[in-house]
C-alpha cells in the first residue's frame, strides 16, 4: 500500500568514474556486448556488488544504466548528471533524501533528463522546498507519471495540487500532512486525475466532507484511501461507500465518525479488504458489525482504541470472516480469555494479531487463541502484564511459523519462557523484549534462531557481554539491535557483536555507560551501520567517533547527546568521512564554532541537526555554521535564547528554505 520504494541506493563517487575512464580499452571485459553484460548484471543482486560493477569501466557503467529502473538520489549536486545518464530507462525516482531540493533544481534536473518517458513514480516525500513550479515541470516532463508521493511536505497546498493534477494518468498519490491542502486542491486532483486508485490525505486537516464528496464522485476507481485524522463526518462515509472498488480504507482517529457512518459502508459492494478505524472514539461494535456484514472478504481489521470492550455479537460476527481475515488488531481493549477463545475458533487463518496494551490478557486466553490460530506469524503482546512463561510455551507449541513477537513490558516472563520460543520458533525474525527481566541465559536460547533480524533488549539491565556473545554466535542476519540502558554491556560485548553480526544497521547503545572508545573501534568494522545512538555514553571521545566515522561511512543518523568528551576533532572526522550523515544530535557536546561550521558545511546530506546546549559555541558560531549549511537543513533544534540573538535575516532565510526550527525553552549559557 505505502509507496516507499525499496530500491537500493545509488552511490556515485567521483573517483570511481575517473578510475573507470582509466581502464584500458582492450580489456577482455570491454569486448563483451552490452546485452551479455546486462545478463551478467542481472545475477548481481547485492547493491554493494553493483556499486563495484559500476566502477569497473565505462561499458559496465553503461550496461548498468540501461538496466536500472529505480534511482534514489542522495545529493542534489549529482541529480542532474544522474538523471541525464539514467533518463532512458528510469521508472522510479526517489528524491525524498535529496537535500535542498527546490523548484529550480527539480526543473533543471528534469530538463537535463529530457524525455524521462518511462518515469512512472516519483517520491518527493519530505521535499519541503518543492513548490508548484517544480511539480508543474514534473507533470509536464513525465507524461506517464503514475505515482507521486508528497507526504510530509507541509508546504504543499492547493496550487501544488493543481500543478500535480496536470498529470492525468496519476494512479497513486500520497499527500499525508500537506497542511495547506484544502477541498479546492483535492477537487483539482479529483477532476484532473480521474484514474486515481490510491490516495492518502492523512492529516490534511483542511479537507471537509465537501471535498470527499467530490472525490468520491470523480474518482470511482479508488482502491486505497487514507482519510485518517480528518475532520470529516458520517456524510463523507456515505459518499466513500459509493466507491465500488475500494479495498483499503484507513480512517484512524476520525472522531466525528460513528456507527451511523460505518453503516453506510454496508452497501453490498463487498469490496473492502482492509479497514482501519483505530482511535475513532465514537465507533462501537455495532458499527463494525455492519461493516463485517457488508464486506465478506475483509482481510485486515484494525479497531484499536475504539471502544473498551468487545461485544459478544461482534466476536461471533468474526465467524463470517473466518476464511479471509488475516490481520486483527485489538490494541487497547479489555480482552478476556473467552473472547480470545472465540477469536481462536472463528479466525483460523489469522496471521497477525495485535493485543498491545490490552487488559486482562492471560496465559489461558493466549493459549486458547493460539490453539485456534496456528498460522499466526506476528503476535503483539506489548504491555500484557499478566502473561507468564505458560503463554510463551503455548505460543511456541502451536505457532511454528512465528516470525515476530512483541513482548515489551511483560515483566513476568523469564528466561525459561524464551527457551520454548527459541526451541520451537526457529523462523523468528523479530523479538521485542524491552523492559523484560531477561538474563544472559535468554540470549543463549534465542541464539538458536538464526533468522533473527531485530532484537530489542532495552532496559534489560541484566544482559551483559556474555549475552551478547551468545547473540553474536548465531546472529549473522541481525540488522537491528537495541541495547538501551543495558549498563552491563562493555567493549568486549561490542567486540563480539562486531565480529558476529556484520550486517547490523541500527545499533542503540544509549546510556550503556561502560562503553569506551575501544568499543567504538570494534564497531567501526560494521560497514552497514546506518544508525548509531550513543546518547549518554560518557567515556567516548573524539577518537572513538573518528574510528566510527572512518569505518562506518554510510552512517546516516548519529546521536551524540550528552557525550561530553566529544570535541571538534570528532566533528572534523564526521565531516570528512560520513558524507551520508543526514541526522545528527550534538547537544551537550564539547564542540566549538569551528567544528560546527566545518560539519555543517562539509556534510552535504545533513538535514536534521540538534544543537542544544553547545556551551562553547558563541552566537557568531551558530550564525556562521547555519549560514554554511546552505539551505540543506530541514529540521533544527536550538535554544530559545538564540532566537533573538541570531540575526532575523538568517532565521528568515532558513525558513524560506523550508527549515523548521524547534526552539527549546531552556536557559542559555553562552561563551562571552
Amino acid at each position: 500500500m505505502q509507496y516507499h520504494s525499496k530500491q537500493e541506493e545509488t552511490r556515485r563517487e567521483g573517483e570511481a568514474m575517473e578510475r573507470a575512464q582509466q581502464q584500458s580499452s582492450d580489456s577482455i571485459l570491454a569486448t563483451l556486448s552490452v546485452d551479455l553484460l546486462i545478463q551478467i548484471l542481472d545475477r548481481v543482486a547485492d547493491p554493494r556488488d553493483r556499486k563495484s560493477w559500476r566502477q569497473v569501466c565505462r561499458g559496465f557503467l553503461l550496461a548498468e544504466a540501461l538496466r536500472r529502473r529505480s534511482l534514489r538520489v542522495l545529493r542534489r549536486e549529482a541529480l542532474q548528471g544522474l538523471l541525464r545518464r539514467y533518463a532512458a530507462c528510469l521508472e522510479r525516482l526517489d528524491l525524498s533524501a535529496c537535500p535542498a531540493l527546490d523548484d529550480h533544481a527539480l526543473a533543471a534536473a528534469l530538463a537535463a533528463g529530457a524525455g524521462l518517458w518511462r518515469l512512472r513514480s516519483v517520491n518527493l516525500s519530505r521535499a519541503s522546498g518543492v513548490g508548484w513550479r517544480g511539480l508543474a515541470a514534473l507533470a509536464k516532463a513525465c507524461p506517464h507519471l503514475e505515482a507521486v508521493d508528497l507526504s510530509h511536505c507541509v508546504g504543499v497546498g492547493d496550487r501544488e495540487a493543481a500543478a500535480l493534477a496536470a498529470a492525468a494518468g496519476l494512479r497513486e498519490l500520497w499527500l499525508d500532512k500537506c497542511l495547506g491542502l484544502t477541498d479546492v486542491g483535492l477537487a483539482k486532483v479529483a477532476v484532473g486525475c480521474p484514474a486515481l486508485e490510491m490516495l492518502g490525505i492523512k492529516w490534511c486537516l483542511e479537507i471537509s466532507d465537501i471535498g470527499i464528496e467530490l472525490l468520491a464522485k470523480k474518482c470511482q476507481n479508488l482502491r486505497v484511501l487514507d482519510i485518517s485524522y480528518l475532520k470529516i463526518t458520517n456524510r463523507s462515509l456515505q459518499f466513500v461507500s459509493s466507491l465500488g472498488k475500494l479495498e483499503d480504507l484507513s480512517m484512524v482517529g476520525c472522531s466525528h465518525i460513528d456507527d451511523a457512518g460505518l453503516q453506510f459502508l454496508n452497501n453490498g459492494s463487498n469490496s473492502l479488504q482492509s479497514v482501519d478505524v483505530s482511535r475513532c472514539e465514537n465507533v462501537t461494535s455495532s458499527g463494525l458489525i455492519s461493516v463485517i456484514e457488508g464486506h465478506k472478504y475483509l482481510q485486515n481489521l484494525n479497531i484499536g482504541d475504539c471502544f473498551p470492550e468487545l461485544a459478544p455479537l461482534f466476536l461471533s460476527k468474526l465467524n463470517d470472516l473466518r476464511d479471509s481475515l488475516t490481520v486483527l488488531k485489538l490494541d487497547g481493549f479489555q480482552v478476556f480469555a473467552p473472547s480470545l477463545k472465540i477469536i481462536g475458533l472463528n479466525c483460523r487463518n489469522l496471521v497477525e494479531i495485535g493485543l498491545s496494551k490490552c487488559k486482562w490478557v492471560t496465559d489461558e486466553g493466549v493459549s486458547e487463541l493460539v490453539a485456534g490460530c496456528v498460522n499466526l506469524m506476528t503476535i503483539d503482546l506489548t504491555c500484557c502484564h499478566l502473561l507468564t512463561n505458560k503463554a510463551l510455551a503455548a505460543i511456541g507449541d502451536k505457532c511454528k511459523n512465528l516470525t515476530c513477537l512483541q513482548l515489551e513490558s511483560c515483566k513476568l516472563i523469564t528466561d525459561k519462557g524464551l527457551d520454548c520460543i527459541g526451541t520451537c520458533c526457529l523462523n523468528l525474525e523479530e523479538i521485542d523484549l524491552t523492559d523484560c527481566t531477561m538474563t544472559n541465559a535468554a540470549m543463549k536460547y534465542l541464539s538458536r534462531c538464526s533468522e533473527l533480524k531485530v532484537l530489542k533488549l532495552g532496559l534489560c539491565d541484566k544482559i551483559s557481554d556474555e549475552g551478547l556473545v551468545h547473540i553474536a554466535s548465531n546472529g549473522k542476519k541481525l540488522r537491528v539491535l537495541d541495547l538501551y540502558r543495558c549498563f552491563e554491556v562493555t567493549d568486549d560485548g561490542l567486540a563480539a557483536i562486531a565480529t558476529g553480526c556484520k550486517r547490523i544497521k541500527n545499533l542503540n547503545l544509549c546510556y550503556c555507560t561502560r562503553i569506551t572508545d575501544l568499543g567504538l573501534k570494534h564497531l567501526s568494522c560494521l560497514e552497514d551501520l546506518l544508525d548509531l545512538e550513543l546518547r549518554g555514553v560518557h567515556y567516548i571521545t573524539s577518537l572513538g567517533i573518528t574510528a566510527i566515522a572512518n569505518g562506518c561511512q554510510h552512517l546516516t543518523e548519529l546521536d551524540l547527546k550528552h557525550c561530553h568528551l566529544v570535541d571538534d576533532a570528532g566533528l572534523f572526522a564526521l565531516g570528512q568521512y560520513t558524507k551520508n550523515l543526514r541526522q545528527a544530535n550534538l547537544s551537550y557536546c564539547q564542540v566549538s564554532s569551528m567544528g560546527l561550521c566545518n560539519l555543517l558545511s562539509s556534510l552535504k546530506c545533513l538535514q536534521d541537526v540538534k544543537l542544544v546546549h553547545l556551551t562553547r559555541v558563541p552566537v557568531e558560531g551558530f550564525e556562521s555554521a547555519l549560514r554554511a549549511s546552505g539551505g540543506r537543513l530541514k529540521k533544527l533544534k536550538l535554544l530559545t535564547g538564540l532566537r533573538h540573538l541570531l540575526s532575523p535575516g538568517l532565521i528568515q532565510m532558513l525558513q524560506a528554505w523550508g527549515c523548521r526550527i524547534r526552539w527549546v525553552d531552556k536557559p542559555l549559557n553562552l561563551v562571552p
Partner: protein, 714 residues
C-alpha cells in the same frame, strides 16, 4: 352611583372568545343618568350576518342611529373584525339606548343562542315584556335560591354559580356560566322548546318568568343593591382570567368536555323529564356518561330536532319568497335564517362530535371555530386508550358524518363552513389508516423524504392561507401576530388576568402520549411537484416549508438586492442571506462561474465534466510560505484537540431535527384556522405548526425546509 364608574370613558372591557354576540351595547347606566348628552367611547358588539362585510355592516348599524353613513363613519373609531364582531365609537347615552333597542333589527335577535366555549357556556337571552322592568340576571339568581349580599362581588359568587356572569340590558340577559353542571341546571329551568318551536318572531314567553315572578317580591328589597353589585352599566361579561382556558387545564377533564351537545341534550331531555328539583348532581355524571358512551337515542332525538329546525328555516325562506318586495322585512328575515342555520350547523357539529370520540381530536383541531380549547387538552388520554377498540367503528362513523354534512350542504347557506367541514372530514378519514401503523417505524426514520406514499397525512393549504401575514389575532383589539408568543405578550396589555403564568405559558402539546401522526404538506399550485396531484409527489415537511416553497416557486420575486440590483427574491430571508455575501463571490469555477458558497461550487464541479475549482493566487501565496514552522509544531496539538471541538456531534443534530419534525406533524394546524374570522369570530388561539416553526428552533427548521425545495428544483 359610584363615582368610579362615571370616570370610565371606555366602558367595555374584556371579552374572551365570544361567538355570536348579537347587538349588545356596553353602556354605563350611571353615566346615562348623570350626563345623558355627553359622548363617550363605547364598544358595540353586533351579531353580524355571515355574508356581510364587517365594516359596512357596522356603518349601516350605526347609521340607523346617527342618521347618515358619513356621520357613522366619522364616529367609528375601530372595527373589531376578527375575534368578535363589533366596533367602537363615540356615542352619547341616548344613541346607545337607541342602538340597544331591539327593534332596530326587527325580530331577528330574539332567541337564545348558547355557545359552548371550553369550560364556559354563554347564554344570550332576550327578554321582552314585563321582565324588562327588573333585572333578569338577578332574578335568575334569585330563582336558584342564591342570595347575594351587597358585599359580594362577582368573583365571590357561591360555588354553584361561580363563573355565572350576567348582566341585563334593558330587556336582554346575557350571561355566562362556568361549567356544564351549572349550564344543565340553567337549562332545566329554562324551557327551551319555546325558544325554538315557536315562531321566532313571536314574543318571548318562557317559563323562566314563573320563578322570576315568584321571587321578585321577595327580592325586591335587595334589588337596588344587587344591581349595583352587578354593575348594570358595565360590560355584560366580565371574564375572570382564571377562566380563560387555553386548553392547558387538565384538571377540568371531562366535566367540561364538549358543552354544546351536552347542553343540547339536557335541553332536550328537559322536555321529557320535567325535572323540578334544583339540588341535583346527577346531570354532571350524566354528562360524563354521555361523553364516555355514545347514546343512539339521544342522537336520534338530536337529529329529529334538527330536522324540525330545518323545516322551520324552510318555512321562513318560503315566506320570504311569497312576500316579495318589502325590503326591511326581508333583511330581517335573512338575518333570522342566518342565525338559525348557524345554530343548526353548530348542533350538527356537536352531534357529530358525540359520534366520533376518537377523531374528535383531529376534527376539533382541524376546525377551531367549533372546537373548544379545553377539549384538545383533555381528550387524548382517554381517546388513545380507547383507540384500538373503536377504530373499526370510526370508519363507519366518519362516513356517516360525511353524509350528515352532505345533507347540510343541501340546506344552502354557510358554504364556507361546510367546505371547511368537508375538508376536515377528508382529513379525518385520511388519518384513520395511519393510526393502524406502528408509529415507531417512523421514529427513527432519519430522512422524512423516504416516507412511503400513504404513510403520512397530506394537508393542503390554500394560497391565501399561505400568504397571510399573521396567524394569531388578538381577540380584543384584533391585532394580528406572527407568533403566538408575541400575541401572549400583547395580551398582557389588556389586563392583569393575562399576566398570570398560566395565561403566559406556552400552550403545551398534550398529545405526547398519543402516537404522532406524520403530517406532510402539499402545495396548492396544481402541476407543481409538491402538489399532491403530481405523479412524483414530494411532500413538504412543515408549514414553513410550504410558505417558503410557495413564495419561492409560485410568487413574484419582489425583493431586490440593494447592492447588486439584479438578484431578486420572494422570501425576505433569502434576500438577507444573499446580502450578506453579495459582491463577494469567492468561489470560482474554471469555467468562470462564480459562487458564493463552497458547496455550491463543488456541486457545480461534480455536475460538469472537466470543470474544476479555480485557485486564488493571492491566497495560495499566503498559505504557501507563512507559518510553516508554527503549523508543523502545533499540528499535534491541533489534532489532539480536534476531536473535542465539535462535541455536539452530527447525530445529535439529526436527532433534534427529527424530534422537531415529529412536533410539526402533531401541530394542530388546519386549513380552517384562517377561516376562523369569517365563520364567526371564535378564535381559539390556533396552536398551529407556526408555533413550532417560529420557536427558538426555527433556524433548524429553516435549514431542513430549505433543503427540500432545493432538491426539487434540481
Amino acid at each position: 352611583m359610584s363615582s368610579g364608574s362615571s370616570r370610565l370613558s371606555i366602558s367595555a372591557v374584556v371579552i374572551s372568545s365570544l361567538l355570536f354576540v348579537s347587538l349588545s351595547i356596553l353602556s354605563s347606566m350611571a353615566e346615562a343618568t348623570t350626563k345623558p348628552d355627553e359622548a363617550a367611547v363605547q364598544i358595540v358588539y353586533v351579531e353580524r350576518p355571515e355574508a356581510e362585510e364587517p365594516e359596512a355592516f357596522h356603518i349601516r348599524t350605526l347609521a340607523a342611529v346617527l342618521g347618515s353613513e358619513e356621520a357613522a363613519k366619522d364616529a367609528v373609531i375601530y372595527h373589531y373584525k376578527h375575534a368578535s364582531s363589533g366596533f367602537s365609537a363615540k356615542l352619547t347615552q341616548s344613541q346607545v339606548e337607541q342602538l340597544s333597542k331591539p327593534n332596530i333589527f326587527g325580530k331577528s335577535h330574539k332567541g337564545l343562542i348558547f355557545v359552548g366555549l371550553g369550560s364556559r357556556v354563554f347564554f344570550r337571552l332576550y327578554l321582552v315584556g314585563p321582565t324588562a322592568s327588573m333585572d333578569p340576571g338577578q332574578a335568575l339568581l334569585e330563582s336558584w335560591g342564591c342570595e347575594l349580599t351587597s358585599q359580594e362581588r362577582n368573583s365571590d359568587l357561591p360555588n354553584c354559580l361561580k363563573g355565572f356572569y350576567g348582566r341585563s340590558l334593558s330587556s336582554d340577559l346575557m350571561f355566562c356560566v362556568k361549567n356544564s353542571e351549572t349550564a344543565n341546571r340553567l337549562l332545566e329551568d329554562l324551557v327551551l322548546e319555546k325558544w325554538f318551536s315557536t315562531d321566532s318572531g313571536a314574543k318571548m314567553d318562557f317559563k323562566l318568568r314563573r320563578p322570576l315572578e315568584a321571587s321578585s317580591n321577595a327580592s325586591s328589597s335587595m334589588m337596588s343593591e344587587i344591581s349595583r353589585n352587578l354593575k348594570p352599566g358595565l360590560p355584560f361579561i366580565q371574564c375572570d382570567s382564571t377562566n380563560i382556558c387555553y386548553g392547558a387545564r387538565q384538571e377540568q377533564s371531562f366535566s367540561e368536555f364538549p358543552p354544546p351537545q351536552v347542553i343540547q341534550s339536557r335541553g332536550l331531555y328537559a322536555r321529557e323529564q320535567k325535572t323540578e328539583t334544583k339540588s341535583q348532581l346527577e346531570p354532571s355524571s350524566a354528562v360524563n356518561d354521555l361523553v364516555m358512551d355514545w347514546n343512539p337515542r339521544l342522537m336520534l332525538s338530536n337529529l329529529s330536532f334538527l330536522e324540525q329546525k330545518i323545516h322551520q328555516v324552510q318555512d321562513i325562506v318560503r315566506s320570504i319568497i311569497s312576500q316579495e318586495g318589502r325590503a326591511n322585512e326581508l333583511a330581517a328575515q335573512q338575518q333570522l335564517v342566518t342565525a338559525d342555520l348557524t345554530y343548526i350547523i353548530i348542533q350538527l357539529i356537536s352531534t357529530a362530535g358525540t359520534l366520533l370520540p376518537n377523531i374528535k381530536n383531529a376534527l376539533l383541531s382541524a376546525t377551531p371555530p367549533v372546537g373548544q380549547p379545553g377539549v384538545m387538552a383533555n381528550l387524548p388520554v382517554n381517546a388513545s386508550q380507547k383507540q384500538h377498540e373503536v377504530l373499526p367503528m370510526e370508519l363507519a362513523k366518519a362516513s356517516e358524518y360525511d353524509e350528515l354534512i352532505k345533507d347540510l350542504n343541501s340546506g344552502g347557506e354557510g358554504d364556507e363552513l361546510i367546505k371547511c367541514l368537508n375538508n376536515s372530514v377528508a382529513e379525518v378519514s385520511e388519518s384513520i389508516p395511519i393510526e393502524d401503523h406502528d408509529i415507531k417505524d417512523y421514529d427513527d426514520g432519519l430522512d422524512g423524504e423516504n416516507l412511503p406514499p400513504g404513510s403520512y397525512e397530506v394537508l393542503q393549504l390554500e394560497k391565501e392561507e399561505i400568504l397571510a401575514p399573521h396567524t394569531h389575532f388578538c381577540l380584543i383589539c384584533g391585532k394580528g401576530f406572527k407568533r403566538d408568543a408575541n400575541l401572549r405578550m400583547h395580551m398582557r396589555g389588556h389586563g392583569d388576568e393575562y399576566k398570570t403564568p398560566a395565561a403566559l405559558a406556552k400552550p403545551s402539546k398534550e398529545a405526547s402520549s398519543e402516537p404522532a401522526i406524520i403530517r406532510r404538506y402539499s402545495c396548492p399550485f396544481v402541476g407543481c411537484k409538491r402538489n399532491k396531484e403530481h405523479k412524483k409527489f414530494q411532500p413538504l415537511k412543515t408549514i414553513l416549508c410550504v410558505k417558503n416553497h410557495y413564495k419561492r416557486s409560485h410568487c413574484d420575486k419582489s425583493y431586490t438586492c440593494s447592492r447588486c440590483k439584479t438578484k431578486k427574491f420572494s422570501v425576505i430571508a433569502d434576500l438577507k442571506t444573499h446580502e450578506k455575501h453579495c459582491g463577494r463571490d469567492k468561489w470560482i469555477c474554471s469555467c468562470g462561474t462564480t459562487f458564493s458558497r463552497k458547496d455550491k461550487l463543488f456541486g457545480h464541479v461534480a455536475l460538469f465534466q472537466g470543470h474544476a475549482p479555480a485557485i486564488h493566487m493571492d491566497d495560495a501565496k499566503v498559505s504557501g510560505t507563512s507559518d510553516h514552522a508554527q503549523v508543523g509544531e502545533t499540528t499535534n496539538g491541533m489534532v489532539a484537540n480536534m476531536g473535542y471541538n465539535f462535541s455536539g456531534n452530527a447525530s445529535d443534530d439529526a436527532q433534534s431535527l427529527d424530534i422537531k419534525d415529529v412536533d410539526d406533524g402533531q401541530g394542530y394546524f388546519s386549513p380552517m384556522n384562517f377561516d376562523a374570522c369569517n365563520f364567526g369570530g371564535l378564535d381559539e388561539f390556533p396552536r398551529s405548526a407556526y408555533d413550532v416553526s417560529e420557536s427558538p428552533f426555527s433556524f433548524l427548521s429553516t435549514g431542513t425546509c430549505s433543503f427540500i425545495p432545493r432538491n426539487s428544483e434540481n
